[in-house]
Symmetry: C2
Subunit: 310 residues, 2 copies
């Protein structure tokens, strides 16, 4: 690899700062003993994985990584697909190289009344025989086990505000892309109640940088108040069982559909950092249906038919 581009350096500085900010913000949970693993990737690059498993955060991982390398023949079809998203007529050259950096986090709280949350902010650069192509993607989405409308509205409102600062009509398409991305076709339902999702943005780096800088900051305001408000809600084994069943769906989405997970598995990423997104535990029951009019049925109905929250 040659020298990193200024854009890449700028993004790396941002995500490193946000990793600290977010781990600090999560300390309201009382679980502060994050374990840090600095790792190297065989093909090039590496990352910084911070994980905590505690009384409130059953498991939380906040990961940054910078990976780069030659594109192997087996990886080429995947990179060709990516390239076409930003340059529809471009052909991947045999000597193409890639660089990717991002912040990825998944928080699986123990209390079933606190939603699981995921966020990711990423920058991608392809050197296609000296032609540089870059793009930015990211998003944040909320996966409640029990639905509190006010939490869903709060999470979406904070994200709408940050989208409004970026572009006047950005929220609606980003919200819709989130519902579409986190859809589980074989279950005919979404993973959670959504948030925002965007990808392959490459029109104006400075504007996009400001957007993901603001979005990754807004994530803290969007999630931490919900964590604080719900973390001491009393719960029963029945609530935990429902959480486990829903976590099974979370596992299904990640392993069957999630592009980030499959990208990591295919590019020989560090498996423990990729699969830190998996739920700490999950259950599968045969043909389980929640009781009619129950709280479990209420959230399931919303997952079958996404709502507008703002």
């Amino acid at each position: 690899m040659g020298t990193k581009s200024i854009q890449l350096d700028t993004i790396q500085a941002l995500i490193s700062e946000r990793q600290n900010d977010i781990c600090d913000a999560l300390s309201v949970s009382g679980d502060t003993a994050f374990k840090t693993d600095i790792w190297q990737r065989n093909g090039g690059g590496g990352g910084n994985t911070r994980v905590v498993a505690g009384a409130v955060l059953e498991r939380a991982g906040v990961n940054t990584s910078y990976v780069h390398g030659e594109i192997t023949p087996s990886e080429a079809p995947m990179f060709q697909q990516l390239l076409q998203k930003v340059a529809p007529t471009a052909k991947l050259k045999s000597n193409a190289t890639f660089e990717a950096t991002g912040l990825s986090l998944v928080i699986h709280p123990k209390n079933p009344f606190v939603p699981t949350v995921h966020a990711n902010y990423r920058y991608f650069e392809l050197d296609n025989n000296n032609e540089k192509i870059w793009w930015i993607g990211g998003g944040a989405d909320l996966t409640p086990y029990y639905l509190f409308d006010e939490d869903a509205t709060h999470f979406h409102t904070v994200h709408k505000q940050v989208c409004d600062r970026y572009k006047p009509n950005a929220y609606q398409p980003f919200k819709q892309q989130c519902d579409e991305y986190f859809y589980i076709p074989h279950r005919r339902e979404t993973r959670g109640i959504g948030g925002i999702f965007f990808d392959y943005l490459n029109d104006d780096f400075d504007q996009l940088f400001e957007f993901i800088s603001n979005a990754s900051n807004a994530f803290i305001d969007a999630y931490i108040p919900i964590l604080e408000k719900r973390k001491n809600t009393p719960y029963t084994d029945t609530h935990r069982q429902w959480q486990s069943i829903r976590r099974g769906r979370y596992a299904e989405f990640n392993l069957v559909y999630d592009r980030g997970t499959l990208f990591g598995l295919k590019t020989d990423g560090r498996i423990e950092s990729i699969l830190m997104s998996m739920p700490p535990m999950a259950e599968w029951r045969y043909d389980h249906t929640p009781e009619e009019s129950s709280e479990e049925a209420k959230i399931q109905a919303v997952l079958k038919q996404p709502k507008d929250w703002v």
Copy 2:
């Protein structure tokens, strides 16, 4: 669809009989209250799913199905791949139809000293513009959480005997294909200690029918004695935790790599019957490594480096 072929009828009668035999044989567990679900598939066909969740069999499912239909444009690439396995130069026609029937079972015992087991015997028929192409596949594999060499040897020996009756040198390649098929690349380990796996066999129907008839019968002799011998072994929470972690790997294999699961998801199969193969529960821990020289390390070492058991 036209009339079913005699071959298809013959296989359907066999798997229906074996479904009864296997459910009967599982009654040694004491869990006999199998629930039967007869289901129809939207695109054509349906199945008979029998599931029990009890004190010894945490969950066991024994499923037969017969599915058929037109091949939709989105399914065509998958069927083209299948077709080429048995007829390398054949091109899938736009009016091609398919029929598939099989018996599929997964037994997840509660006691961590009883291995999980999976078996499948299947018949496939493609009508490619009036040219009929058929093949047979199947196999059985064992997934212990703790290793008893004698159990692994017994399971393999019974399957070797049935392979020997089929063809003198069939066991070794079928054993090897099993190790290859149930390999989890991202974990660099196999799902379990293997068994036999075969696919795309279509040289002599009568001989193949006798083989899968014997193999599906031998399955009972291969597994039930292990279930009986280990089901009352005392265990601790630590043993259950290790079982849960290994079940996470089982879930990873099924959702990321298993052809049968992905075929079911892509052809709009009955989701509860497809995912009855999932473990009843699973755990994911960050960067978990068994203690050196422990029983957990012993089985893990064998999964990293498959052994000959006969």
